[in-house]
Symmetry: C2
Subunit: 382 residues, 2 copies
């Protein structure tokens, strides 16, 4: 008697999960498995965050937080955006969410309707399309490979239709590590405003930039068009805590808040406290960023030496490696064979809409990453 | 340029919030405000839960939990249902959720489609209708006042149409404290099976029963029809932790899991650990239940002495009091005036679809509850 939402049949088990499942077979093998699939920082969570959160748990009644999130946390997020991006953000323009996933889900449920089209540049994070599909809308993916993998306004002009409702951007990009130039960002914002489009900007890697600077889409002049999503999973390694936030205009927030409230009530008050400590006491994460930078450079250079093309990451925690000149296999078959033969697990590019690539997560020590690249090169040479 | 889901305009700010807002005005007044609006247990969270969770936080990397929830927690939930309700529940039939709210939201998003009708008995918890409305469906509310506020199969027969997709039940009931008889439950289950309807059973008050026993809708023979929602907010006062679960058949779970994953990824791993400790080490909550029982009896008897009719609660943490013979005001106006004149805040029955009632939460000490009832009686006498 299964009578469920038929859109759910269009959502497949993710390719990332398929590879994760395949990994299990090789976990206890003789040759040690190097799993570079998951987008989970390996760098430790700050002791001060854990200690202060524990103190709070010992001294506070852990009841329902305020609707939309602890007021102190929202104020601190506002301060952070003022200090770092020179944008004024009030507490009534922020919702604290169950990680960026709930942020995205709440935003898409609120503004995307059946029949809508949503534009996004390729390669694209695999979490967006299922939510768009579930909403009965369509994700239109735009090739950016001739533009250094940055979205440009010309691409938007080419793909906009009367059904276009929103643009999803994700810079620094998962999986490419590309950041967007100020000029492209400004052109896109202007275009969105002129065409009454929403920009959903997933900036969860905003703090992990190692070349150039992060150009946030949250700009004073375009506040009515922009819905920013961010969180603490990548900047402070707080993945399991499920804590993030949405920033938007007061008007849009009123609608988002209804969806948020009836979807989750709130995120855990414990995680909200942890986020507050993170913002107040762990502002400087440059040492972590430097570790990712060193890993990225090391892997990039090693590949380059062997004439393997990869997009040079300027932020985030991945490197996106081209399969051109390496194999004729599609990315899933390549990843499966690499896993089988060399015990190195990577994510097939098809998960991000680009079948001629693989994604390597930079979430292991440099030595292990180097070993993985050696195995990859060895595999290719065979 | 607000172009949002038009269903959102049909969802109003909840009456409960309106009263909560009104409360703020009186917080610092001379006469102490007694706030009996919120459904949040005042009884303390168990020290062992907090201590063991803290120990876990100190010794474990708090990364992403397994998809669908920590396997140990799911196994323990299964054991609990086996021990307590004699039902076999496998780990692959459970999803750990961000409180019961996310459970409900995930279930409704998965199975309720535009145009569907969902049946529910009155009085009804105010969190269901917004989710049904958001899904583009309709909640059909059935009067149960001639049946001691229990849902019967005859009511279902009267209200079923070809559009009926599901029945939402919530026993022990918020706000009435009514529990359902074994016979009514069995008849409803049979009817649902024959008519290919889902039963969404919100059993978040399952452990808070002080007269008779809780008859869970999770019955072996009807597993394909039943989606059970439960959590730890009421049984273990873990409100702010946001932790609950869904139990259903393996087949339905596959669909629910897609929605769950893309809505929140998972609930906080910290809260999952807390729930595990709660199930393993805080099984016996009878002393708490006795406190609610004493409060319920005390308030009920006090009202009865004055010939004020209330539904006698047999579970949950509320008492639903009739306004008949007391006032001609509607429940919102009555609640507002009571607040203004006597500084006692209660929830207007209209929030639960019954305008001739008010809901009093039994979440204060007996002495405070008695004081509130004295004020209520005093107010009525004027």
């Amino acid at each position: 008697m299964l009578r469920v939402n038929p859109n759910l049949d269009k959502i497949e088990i993710s390719v990332i999960r398929k590879i994760a499942e395949a990994c299990k077979e090789y976990e206890d093998g003789e040759k040690k498995l190097i799993n570079l699939t998951i987008g989970e920082p390996d760098l430790p969570q700050s002791k001060i965050i854990i200690d202060k959160t524990i103190e709070y748990m010992q001294n506070t009644r852990l009841g329902y937080p305020q609707l939309g999130g602890m007021i102190e946390l929202r104020e601190e997020i506002g301060k952070h955006y003022k200090d770092r991006y020179k944008v004024n953000v009030g507490s009534d323009e922020i919702i604290v969410t169950v990680g960026t996933t709930e942020g995205l889900s709440t935003v898409i449920k609120t503004i995307i309707l059946p029949g809508d089209e949503v534009l996004t540049p390729l390669p694209v994070y695999s979490g967006y399309e299922p939510l768009i599909t579930l909403a009965g809308a369509k994700l239109i993916k735009m090739d950016t490979s001739n533009e250094n993998f940055e979205l440009t306004v010309d691409m938007l002009k080419k793909h906009i239709t009367p059904r276009t409702k929103a643009i999803i951007v994700n810079y620094p990009s998962n999986p490419s590590g590309v950041i967007i130039s100020e000029k492209n960002r400004d052109d896109i914002l202007k275009f969105a405003k002129e065409n009454h489009l929403y920009i959903i900007s997933d900036e969860v890697y905003s703090e992990v930039v190692y070349e150039g600077k992060h150009n946030s889409f949250l700009q004073e002049e375009y506040r009515e068009n922009v819905i920013l999503i961010n969180g603490f999973s990548k900047s402070h390694s707080l993945t399991g805590w499920r804590i993030g936030y949405i920033i938007t205009s007061k008007k849009i927030r009123e609608y988002l808040l209804k969806v948020h409230q009836y979807t989750v009530t709130s995120s855990s008050i414990i995680s909200q406290k942890a986020a507050l400590v993170a913002l107040k006491e762990c502002k400087d994460i440059s040492s972590q960023v430097n570790i990712y930078k060193k890993r990225a450079e090391s892997v990039y250079n090693k590949l380059k030496e062997k004439n393997i093309f990869a997009i040079k990451p300027r932020g985030a925690i991945y490197i996106f490696v081209s399969l051109d000149g390496i194999t004729n296999l599609n990315s899933l078959d390549f990843a499966k064979t690499l896993l089988e033969k060399e015990r190195v697990a990577v994510v097939p590019g098809i998960a991000f809409g680009m079948d001629r690539y693989i994604r390597i997560s930079l979430v292991k020590d440099e030595a292990i990453l180097n070993e993985a690249i050696d195995r990859l090169i060895n595999f290719i040479n065979k």
